[in-house]
């Protein structure tokens, strides 16, 4: 039984995550993301690739969304409403709550600001969310009789989960994005020793080993503090949810401790709603927040206020969190344009930037940017990069592999060159085969499935009673009859089998004829033979 896998979206690329898994005859789509760098058809995965012409609903058994980042769920309304899919979509409760807000925000930017047509509508987002089934952590959900899925904590953003997909005794674990080091608001990813046949792991930081988070935090605070003391403005482009909340908590506590007065702003709308959910889903946060929320919910910010567009021109120092995180559009780009000319100001990029975005350009050292309308923008402000994005680094990925003990590993969501290194390391350390398919490439993994067979207790006890105590680690030989009936296998004792099949017991007797040339009388001969045998 081969598990077939195919990546219409993210293979060796960070952008659209979309993976199709066929496992024991079941087809599951993992994530349904979009690419931030493109504004044309390339931003969504090519779904026609999956079925060629058939209906998606017939082909897919379910869709699983790991977390609410747009590169993991951005194409969902397009996929379900415009392409057409009516099957179940699984995601965790926080993801289900926050995902539509982000989609709506994204739609607004694309449609209302850029004036694009042929894009999904608000109603489509709502309809799409109706198809979503929410799952709890560690809850085993039976999609149908054979297919079951189970979510594990991933720690990447609020509600991020890793999913185990299991059909019979074959299983695949899809990590989504995950983080092995806890941060200010989330815990670390955790999985039990489920020994899946295949582990599909992200590999954003395949070749990076990061410093301790405390140093990172200290650096960040120091940089912000210094700029603010100099009277400069700090722009922190973030995605509305995820890192933003971590950095907010960080700055909030720092401001409180140092008694600073400079204002901190957060671009409005989105945040308030999102923060509301952060306050709500306390069980998904880290130990500290869970322990102290009774006295004070850490997400009730005192120093952080809502941002208004007019504030950007205010004199004096300030810190602004603005969306989106890669400086490719929206408010963050607007503010960036305003502030870029002053060398007192600073922009801190707290996360990864996809190629093609303004964020990526300035991080790679470009000082002159060509903006829309052929304007040239000179960047004088300081550009800092702080790796706050909560992906597991190379060590973290290895640690997760160690925890889960998979038989095969497949790397996605990373850059080919870096993945090559990690692949080699994984094969060397764990002696498991490792794959790294390109976009649209199909990987087939041969598994060695075990077939469960029911055995009657009586037979088991009888057989184990013979001989020494069974050793759990070694196979044991036993006698019985294998019955294959209605797709199920049973091992029963011979008598039981006969009874069930309604057959009479036949005894085979093996005889052979021997000629003896003996002149004596019959009974004498018999006696002689008898005596001979007796002797």
């Amino acid at each position: 039984f081969p598990a077939v896998l195919l990546c219409p979206g993210a293979g060796q690329d960070v952008g659209r995550s979309c993976i199709l898994v066929s496992i024991a005859g079941k087809n599951v789509m993992l994530d349904c993301g979009m690419h931030m760098g493109y504004n044309d058809d390339r931003r969504f995965p090519d779904f026609s690739y999956i079925t060629q012409n058939g209906r998606l609903t017939d082909f897919l058994d379910c869709v699983i969304i790991s977390h609410f980042h747009l590169d993991h769920c951005g194409a969902l309304p397009y996929f379900s409403e415009m392409v057409g899919y009516d099957g179940p979509i699984y995601m965790t409760h926080p993801t289900k709550a926050i995902c539509p807000i982000l989609l709506e925000d994204y739609r607004k930017i694309t449609v209302d600001k850029k004036g694009e047509t042929n894009f999904f509508t608000s109603q489509m987002i709502k309809d799409c969310m109706k198809k979503v089934v929410a799952v709890h952590l560690h809850q085993t959900v039976q999609v149908d009789e054979e297919l079951e899925i189970k979510a594990y904590y991933a720690g990447h953003v609020l509600g991020a989960a890793m999913f185990q997909i299991k059909v019979g005794c074959e299983s695949v674990v899809y990590t989504g994005d995950y983080n092995m080091t806890p941060d200010r608001h989330l815990g670390a990813a955790w999985i039990d020793k489920c020994r899946p046949d295949l582990l599909i792991s992200e590999s954003t930081y395949a070749t990076t080993i990061r410093d301790s988070k405390r140093c990172r935090e200290r650096d960040f605070l120091k940089k912000v503090h210094e700029t603010v003391e100099r009277g400069g403005k700090v722009l922190i482009p973030v995605f509305a949810l995820g890192r933003a909340q971590e950095l907010c908590i960080l700055l909030e506590t720092f401001w409180e401790r140092m008694n600073l007065k400079a204002p901190i702003y957060f671009s409005t709308g989105l945040t308030e709603k999102a923060n509301h959910y952060y306050k709500l889903f306390i069980t998904w946060t880290n130990q500290k927040i869970r322990k102290t929320f009774v006295q004070r919910n850490m997400f009730e910010f005192k120093h952080i206020k809502a941002f208004d567009r007019a504030f950007a021109d205010n004199p004096g120092p300030m810190v602004v969190f603005a969306t989106p995180g890669m400086l490719h559009a929206g408010q963050s780009l607007q503010i960036f344009r305003k502030w870029a000319g002053n060398e007192k100001n600073m922009v801190i990029m707290p996360g990864y930037c996809v190629q093609g975005t303004v964020g990526h350009k300035i991080l790679s050292g470009q000082r002159k940017l060509e903006m829309e309308g052929r304007q040239i923008l000179e960047v004088k402000m300081q550009v800092e990069y702080m790796s706050f994005s909560a992906h597991a680094d190379a060590k973290g990925i290895m640690q997760l592999i160690r925890q889960a003990e998979p038989r095969n590993v497949l790397l996605v969501h990373g850059e080919a060159k870096k993945m090559e290194f990690l692949k080699q390391k994984i094969e060397q350390e764990f002696h498991v085969s490792c794959f790294m398919p390109a976009n649209g490439e199909t990987t087939t993994i041969l598994t060695n499935p075990c077939i469960p067979v029911d055995i009657s207790l009586g037979l088991l006890k009888r057989e184990t009673a013979i001989g020494p105590l069974p050793d759990a680690k070694k196979p044991k030989l036993m006698h019985g009859t294998l019955l294959m009936k209605d797709n199920s296998f049973r091992l029963v004792s011979p008598e039981q089998a006969l009874k069930e099949l309604g057959l009479a017991e036949h005894q085979l007797r093996f005889t052979c004829r021997v000629h003896i040339q003996d002149p004596r009388k019959e009974h004498e001969t018999v006696l002689r033979v008898y005596n001979h045998l007796k002797g």
């Binding site: 301790s212 200290r218 140092m258 500290k288 190379a394 290194f421 350390e429 069974p470 050793d471």
Partner: protein, 905 residues
């Protein structure tokens, strides 16, 4: 007399009642003794269903059984056991057998055979397990009987092949608890089963059930605890168990490996997949380090804790635990710690503004990177960043223990500890500050580290700030900028949290005395003196100014050139502070101040403490005053008391001793004064006016003696007897005064009787001490006792009066350690300008912060009294959790007191 009689009657009455009660109960017991087992028997026979029988047994289990009847009960139970078909009832009986054999005084060897017999025929696994448990109880009750134990172990070994995990579990437990520990015994017995307990247990390390595996490891650990030397051979097995699927197995295996590493630290083990060999303790250390990144936090805590106690590990391995190679896109990157260090050594202080100073450096050979750390690599880096604060605390503790034994490691782990000061959980921060303090003699803080440390001073938690002050007391700072920084931050802290005053002053005292040379160049700046101009004199009551002076004066103590920099008012302030805050300001050799220096300088004699000498001398003088006239005695006493009180104020370590003796002398003085009153010579009608002093004196002596008895810690029985003696004298005095002032003899009867009783009880309580009290009041009194009992009250009073006058003054021997129990309320402060307002009938919470010194068992004894303006008083018992224990003999009470009052009219 009547009262006394009544009391006695009452006492007897209650006694009688008690006796009756005892009689009754014992009678009842005796009655049931033969019938208890019988009743049980009847009950069990009556029981129609197993459920009924179970009910009876449960009821039976609730009542205690006395020793004599245990065996009978056991027999009955066993009898029913054999007859019973239901497994649950048999299970209960088995557990009852175990319970009964625990009965104190009962020797369970008689029922052992029966228990073993039942074991052989039992089919139910649960009952089997319970029976084995019973056997375990029996075995532990008979520690002196090796043959019994041997037999039990044999039985257990037989059942090890059982298919139920519960039974195997119990067997292993039994073997662990009862298995032979000495090699010799095992050989002697030569019994097959007990030949090698370790091997038997070791075989079950591979059991199919994780619970049995855990039990096997635990049994092994139990054997180790009982003194058996475990074989090194099981090390390999134990290492395999570290990769077990179940956390309890891994957790126990980590413990086992730790035990082995302590047993065979120096033996050599090979490294798999290479030809090298390393010491076992290093190998074990590596393995346990590996477990710090285990999936289960229970295991992680366990592993992190154990790391701390592996001090024999070689430094090479130890330092690896803090190692983490960073890389970015396959290029080597330096950690922030390394960068900070470089910045420091290159002389650039925390500019932090260098573009791309964390840019990746050299390319890394892809083959050389080891992503899964083999061995100890980065264990603490992981542990300190763990998700659960329990793990982080354990890691910090381990770091502390290892750093204490290795100075070079201490230096290395400093960066990490400093980082922990910014942990999000307060307990972790506190723990890391304490850790830092413990290792502070091995380290010197760099300036950038000091910066991070000092930033914590703004923490809003008082515990953290105080821990940090204590840390600063014993840190070494490397530069004068560092000292300046520390002072500035401490002063900031002082303005933000004025209640930290004492703690900050103390901190600066040590900071000054540790770094005199670093303070010296800062002095002109700190005192804001100017070479040409006179600067205004700072306010002497400003706590910040006092803080600066404390720092400077303590530095000046070992830096004789410093006083030359002082201006005139500084010297005046010195004299003032030396007097008012003598515990913070040391004696200084000041030029041109002969008076001060000559008075103080002799006190720097190193070996013999002069104040101690002074104390003893003055006491000796007092005890030899017998030949003096009364007037002289009084004066001597008064002077001595004054000296002692002053001494107590100056020398805090002698305060308890001085106060104690001063109080005693005060009592004596009062007694002498009272006896010299004129009233004894005046005619009766005039007493009334004059007795005030005598009775007041008696009262005061009583009060003082109670204080002496209860308010000092370290008071021994020798002192107690003298205190009681003094009290007795006071009571005698009281009696005499009352006798003189009251008319009629009726009330005197009761008083006399009571007094005589007290003398009697004194004699009983302190009979062993009496020989030391030759010529004392009580000594004479006891001689006259037969006469006193028979004579009339008026005669008694006369006798008392004369003995009181004739008795000698008892010498009060001083104990080694004597401290006065004190409570100092820091908050609320006495004279607050804004009174506390609250609505009548409602409750207001008042924060109370107090330090308690030398109070024994404060949780039980200390109460907070609230006095309302209308004179109403209320006693409040603080919660035990409100007491913290920052040091030996010191307690800190931080609590909230709830006030409420009805409206005043």
């Amino acid at each position: 007399m009547a009262a006394h009689l009544k009391k006695r009657v009452y006492e007897e009455f209650t006694k009688v009642v008690q006796q009756q009660h005892e009689d009754l109960s014992s009678k009842k017991l005796r009655l049931t003794k033969p019938s208890k087992s019988a009743a049980l028997h009847v009950d069990l026979c009556k029981a129609t269903s197993p459920a009924d029988a179970l009910q009876y047994l449960l009821q039976f289990a609730r009542k205690p059984v006395e020793v004599e009847s245990v065996e009978g009960v056991v027999r009955i139970l066993l009898e029913h056991y054999y007859k019973e078909n239901d497994a649950s009832v048999r299970l209960k009986i088995a557990s009852l057998l175990g319970l009964l054999s625990k009965t104190a005084g009962f020797s369970p060897d008689c029922i052992m055979d029966d228990a073993i017999n039942t074991l052989q025929n039992e089919k139910s696994h649960q009952v089997l397990a319970q029976l084995l448990d019973t056997l375990l109880v029996i075995g532990t009750k008979l520690p002196e009987n090796p043959s019994v134990r041997m037999r039990l172990v044999e039985v257990a070994c037989k059942h090890l092949t059982d298919s139920s995990h519960g039974v195997r579990n119990k067997c292993l437990q039994l073997i662990g608890c009862l298995g032979p520990v000495e090699k010799g015994v095992a050989k002697e017995a030569e019994s097959q089963a007990a030949k090698d307990v370790q091997k038997i247990i070791g075989d079950h390390f591979n059991d199919q059930d994780p619970r049995v595996r855990t039990a096997a490891i635990k049994a092994m650990l139990q054997l180790h605890e009982r003194g058996l030397k475990l074989q090194q051979a099981i090390y390999g097995q134990a290492c395999k168990l570290l990769a077990d699927d179940y956390e309890q197995v891994r957790s126990a295996a980590v413990q086992l490996i730790w035990v082995l590493s302590q047993l065979y630290p120096e033996s050599i083990v090979p490294i798999p997949s290479s030809n090298e060999e390393i010491r076992l303790v290093d190998d074990a250390f590596g393995k346990i380090c590996h477990m710090v990144s285990d999936g289960s936090w229970v295991v992680r805590v366990q592993a992190a804790k154990l790391l701390g106690s592996m001090q024999q590990v070689s430094s090479h391995f130890l330092e690896q635990t803090l190692d983490k190679k960073l890389m970015s896109d396959l290029r080597r990157k330096r950690t922030a710690h390394e960068r900070a260090k470089e910045l420091y050594s290159s002389g650039e202080f925390s500019s932090g503004r260098k573009w791309g100073d964390d840019a990746p450096k050299e390319e890394i050979d892809t083959g050389a990177v080891n992503l899964i750390e083999s061995g100890a690599c980065g264990a603490f880096v992981h542990g300190l960043e763990d998700e659960m604060y329990e793990v982080r605390i354990a890691a910090v503790e381990a770091l502390c223990m290892l750093a204490q034994s290795s100075p070079s490691f201490a230096e290395k782990c400093l960066d990490f500890l400093v980082d922990m000061f910014n942990d999000e959980i307060e307990e972790v921060r506190l723990q890391s500050i304490h850790t830092m303090r413990k290792i502070s003699n091995n380290i010197t803080l760099r300036e950038d580290q000091l910066d991070t440390v000092l930033a914590v001073l703004e923490d809003s938690s008082r515990d953290i700030r105080e821990a940090l002050h204590e840390l600063l007391c014993c840190t070494n700072v490397s530069t004068k900028e560092g000292i300046h920084l520390a002072l500035v931050e401490l002063l900031k802290n002082l303005t933000k949290y004025p209640t930290d005053r004492e703690s900050i002053w103390k901190c600066l005292k040590f900071l000054g005395s540790r770094h005199p040379t670093l303070v010296l160049p800062l002095v002109p700046e700190l005192l804001s003196t100017h070479p040409f101009f006179d600067t205004p004199e700072p306010d002497m009551d400003d706590p910040a100014y006092i803080a600066v002076l404390v720092l400077i004066f303590n530095a000046a103590k070992s830096c004789p050139t410093m006083p030359a920099l002082f201006s005139d008012h500084t010297f005046r302030h010195y004299a003032y502070l030396r007097d008012s805050l003598s515990h913070l300001v040391p004696p200084l050799r000041l030029p041109g101040r002969k008076l001060v220096s000559s008075a103080v300088s002799p006190s720097i004699t190193p070996h013999e403490d002069p104040s101690q000498q002074f104390l003893h001398q003055s006491l000796e003088r007092v005890y030899n005053f017998q030949h003096l006239d009364p007037r002289g005695i009084q004066e001597l006493l008064e002077f001595t008391i004054r000296d002692l009180q002053r001494l107590g104020e100056l020398q805090s370590e002698l305060a308890g001793m001085a106060d104690f003796t001063a109080t005693y002398l005060q009592c004596q003085l009062l007694l002498i004064k009272a006896l010299q009153e004129k009233l004894w010579n005046v005619a009766a009608p005039l007493y009334l006016k004059q007795n005030a002093l005598a009775s007041a004196a008696a009262k005061q002596i009583l009060e003082e003696t109670y204080k002496m008895e209860f308010m000092y810690s370290g008071v021994e029985s020798r002192q107690v007897v003298i205190i009681h003696h003094m009290r007795l004298q006071a009571k005698a005095l009281q009696l005499i005064v009352t006798a003189r002032t009251t008319r009629g003899v009726e009330p005197l009867f009761g008083m006399c009787e009571k007094f005589l009783q007290e003398v009697d009880s004194f004699q009983r309580c302190f009979i062993s001490e009496l020989p030391h009290m030759q010529g004392s009041f009580v000594d004479k009194l006891l001689d006259l006792m037969p006469r006193l009992v028979t004579s009339k009250p008026s005669e008694v009073v006369k006798i008392l009066q004369t003995t009181l006058r004739q008795s000698t003054f008892l010498h009060l021997p001083l104990p080694e350690q004597l401290h006065r129990a004190t409570a100092n309320i820091i908050e609320p402060t006495g004279e607050s300008d804004n009174p506390l307002r609250f609505t009548s009938g409602l409750v207001v919470a008042l924060d109370v912060d107090a330090t308690l010194e030398h109070v024994q068992d404060p949780q039980g004894t200390v109460k907070v009294q609230v006095l309302y303006p209308d004179g109403q008083a209320q006693l409040i018992h603080p919660k035990p959790a409100d007491f913290r224990n920052p040091g030996p003999g010191r307690h800190r009470l931080i609590t909230q007191v709830y006030l409420s009052h009805t409206a005043w009219t």
